[in-house]
Symmetry: D2
Subunit: 220 residues, 4 copies
């Protein structure tokens, strides 16, 4: 029998940056075997283009190729201090800047006719709890924005509707120290901690079929 | 013929505050007649309890009583600098603090079996555009949180599914200066500007059947 | 006998802005007679150029002309939520952007050979206390920056060394709502509240020869 | 001939924290020999109590014992994202919380009769420049607050007045990831990066007798 696959995606750099921590984290964990609850799972990493539409085609190709047991997509979040599992993907593209192919959709659906939103099927509270216990800053996020990150998150959850039993979700990661050393005054998180945090989050996801019942919301 | 009604809701104070700007704004506009695109509309204001469930019962009673043409619900948003029309309501209650009846639901649906989310049917970009043109700070918000504000927003949009032609949405308003004068270091917006801003937002909503196609998203 | 004079200075717009709230507040209070502790005082407002050196020449001319009893200089502070009486002026010009005459000094003394710093001689804690009591957001600030605001504050305190009995200080005021309506996502404070706050701060300064002994510091 | 000594101080934990990154960084660099511009220097680390007065006695004992060539004091700064060399120490203690001995002075001088402020004699621009070049987030800070950090910084600069040729200054360091994993939503910087950053800052200080002429100020 084959080892179950965890598909872990990151993004290529965008917005004038030379690097993207989400790609670096995914590549660092590529090929690692996770032990979780007596189960083994192997990480397959894929780096997606930061391009509306094309990113989803690449994601769907990876889903077909690797037939994963579980999927976590990562994206870079400037301004955030913590690893932030996302709660919900919404069916809208509304781009504040152009993507890497120059497109800047405004209020277009990710999937025409699709539902307004999909919730993550990963145990986001358990992931946050495990990260915090290990000393890695983490919080639940209530919005993945409206750019290519949310686009991929929504497209992923839409694709998983036809793959019963495959769970998936999205997590934003902070900028790297080397990125904010150029732009000043923004929070960052060092790469080794990001890698360790994503590894722990995957383990939490693999071992928790049900999420914890702990508060993770915001007042507004 | 009767004047069309705009239902404008606010909330009672919560979280230890003595006042809630959303209630003050709603009450200040109560009875006002708005002229918009050759049409007249009269504002009916209702103050909702900050209680899961009970708030929606009060909202539904107001919908039945006033049979509004358009509905805007308001809520207080500590930490925000601007009037922020909300894009999307999600089907989850996840309370970081207890509501005014002591309830603190975690990851409960607002409407069991309801869709994951509803988008606002108000022209949020047009509302932001009109406010900014008038010198009132405003931005689109991608999350209404997971407390009673989002609960009412979701419940409102759910209730409007059975009222074709009635548009509705939610807008968060900042704290008042007098509130932050006690707690220090938080942004605020003076009541007269909040009232003027909500009045202008209602006019924009009444005059724009279709929203503007301008970017209003976030990267994350 | 002549009415004692309160000299209140603001700045012309800078940094690409069309207005400067500090000038608007000063002009709004020009000519007002303050009653404070049985004493009357009349406000003389002067708007200073946002230019290193020239601003201080204009300030010194105003000191000679009006022979004030008390001086409060105001300046605009983007990013601040509150009226912030400044604690200390430092003897350095270090300009992140060019001033209105194109000069951008780096690590130059305001007054060569002057002391490293001067403390405000206004009762900054009493001013904050009175503002908060009146519902106006206010906090003590530990730094006036290193641009023309600090330059004028330092130059003012230096000039007052030779005018025994004349007290003086500086207060930063937030951006106006109309300013942030163009730039988005920044805190603001409405002009009427700024005017009322500065008026109250002047009254507090006139009535408190000694400052209150209440904490107003920061950990870092 | 003896190797020149760099005295590097940190603080014990305070404010309810179990650790203080400033102490951990200092201890990690204790005994290291820095090579800078053909010169060798050895780091002596001392951890100071977070207590007004007592901290300065411990600092002065360390100055007498180690007779350092250069002194850098470190302190923890919640809310900051970057390593921040401080520009200026002010002659005031104004404690928002009690120190570790329960004292909470308000508007007391650090040194009665001392000057209002001392500027750092370390090349703060060169330190920031070297850190940024190495990918470590850093900025000049214009205020060290009014708690025990500023107290030690002021006391250090006062003590160095009688030690010609000995340069000194202060740098704040961010919280550690493990600290913010407990408190949520605050920026942090991983310990290895803090250690590397302080090491580089010391090298920059040893190699730059004169500071760089580059802007490092703030508008307010």
């Amino acid at each position: 029998m084959n080892t179950p696959i965890v598909l872990l995606t990151g993004f290529e750099p965008f917005g004038g940056e030379a690097v993207n921590p989400s790609a670096q984290v995914a590549q660092a964990l590529h090929g690692q075997v996770l032990q979780a609850g007596g189960m083994l799972a192997r990480v397959e990493a894929v780096v997606l283009p930061c391009v509306f539409g094309t990113a989803l085609q690449a994601l769907e190709a990876a889903l077909r190729e690797h037939r994963p047991h579980l999927v976590l997509s990562l994206g870079q979040a400037a301004g955030r201090c913590e690893l932030t599992p996302e709660r919900v993907a919404i069916n809208v593209d509304d781009a504040r800047i152009a993507d890497n192919a120059g497109a800047q959709p405004v209020d277009q659906p990710v999937v025409p006719g699709g539902p307004a939103a999909y919730f993550s099927t990963l145990p986001i509270k358990a992931m946050v709890s495990m990260l915090r216990s290990a000393g890695v800053p983490a919080s639940v996020s209530q919005t993945a924005g409206t750019f290519v990150c949310n686009h991929v998150f929504y497209g992923l959850m839409h694709a998983l509707q036809h793959r019963p039993g495959v769970r998936g979700g999205f997590m934003h990661v902070p900028l790297l120290p080397e990125q904010v050393a150029r732009t000043h005054g923004q929070p960052s998180l060092a790469l080794p901690l990001q890698i360790e945090g994503v590894r722990l989050a995957l383990q939490a996801a693999l071992t928790h079929a049900q999420d914890l019942r702990v508060a993770g919301g915001t007042l507004n």
